[in-house]
């Protein structure tokens, strides 16, 4: 990556990290992934949090481009925006990195024997 693109990357990445640097927001993201679109009522379900607080967190996530709202009739729901980015290829990158870690541990285990 060139210097210019690194800067661009940092600019693109910073709000995302900021948005995710919060336990509640991370939980919202986890809840939305695999669930499709959820209403604020559904998002507050089982959480010790007010609707107002959830709404605020959703606004931060929306600013970072991680979620967006969709209307189902008169109900406003929220859905994850990163789903299109989590393509087959990126998922496999993650699995691939896990194997790198596992194989390094395997080698460390058997290569330290006398």
């Amino acid at each position: 990556m060139s210097t210019r693109s690194l800067t661009t990357a940092a600019r693109a990445g910073a709000p995302i990290f900021a948005a995710l640097g919060d336990e509640t927001r991370l939980r919202i993201v986890a809840k939305l992934s695999g669930a499709g679109a959820l209403s604020i009522a559904r998002l507050t379900d089982g959480e010790d949090i007010t609707r107002q607080a959830i709404t605020k967190h959703l606004a931060v996530l929306a600013d970072a481009g991680l979620v967006r709202d969709v209307w189902h009739g008169r109900e406003r729901r929220w859905q994850l925006e990163l789903a299109p980015l989590a393509t087959a290829r990126t998922y496999l990158d993650l699995v691939s990195e896990r194997w790198d870690g596992a194989l390094a541990r395997l080698a460390a285990l058997v290569e330290t024997d006398d």
Partner: protein, 155 residues
Amino acid sequence: MIPGTTAVTPDTITKQVTIQAPPSRVWRALTTRAEFATWFGMELDADFEVGKATRGTVTYQGKPITMPLYVERMDAESVFAFRWHPFAVEPGVDYEAEPTTLVEIKLEPAGRGTRLTVIESGFERIPEHRRARAFAMNSQGWAIQVENIARHVDA
């Protein structure tokens, strides 16, 4: 370890490395319960046995997650193959009803060491929501995600 090659297709990941220990030693690390736990990070409730399922437990963010692991093949010092649920990170999910991937680990002598090949296949059957969830739950995933965004914005 001498790092080797990685090949990725939409369905399969293939990795090859060379380990500086004989196949007999690597085989023991692959197939004994205690050693498997050390490098793979999964505790097993029974020894590996071909045609049988053992229950594996991983600890993810302090929570135990249990899933079956099905042993398909054990050819001593040569091929170890099992099916499992990659990125099983959600407590309370019944993974038994979900598609598995097949992991084949092949060993070949290479000088005084071992050439090890891992082939994990079947990713095309893993549902999209599991992939997305793996990302949401995994910090490494976010690092990769940001790289992808960088690539994306760079294009």
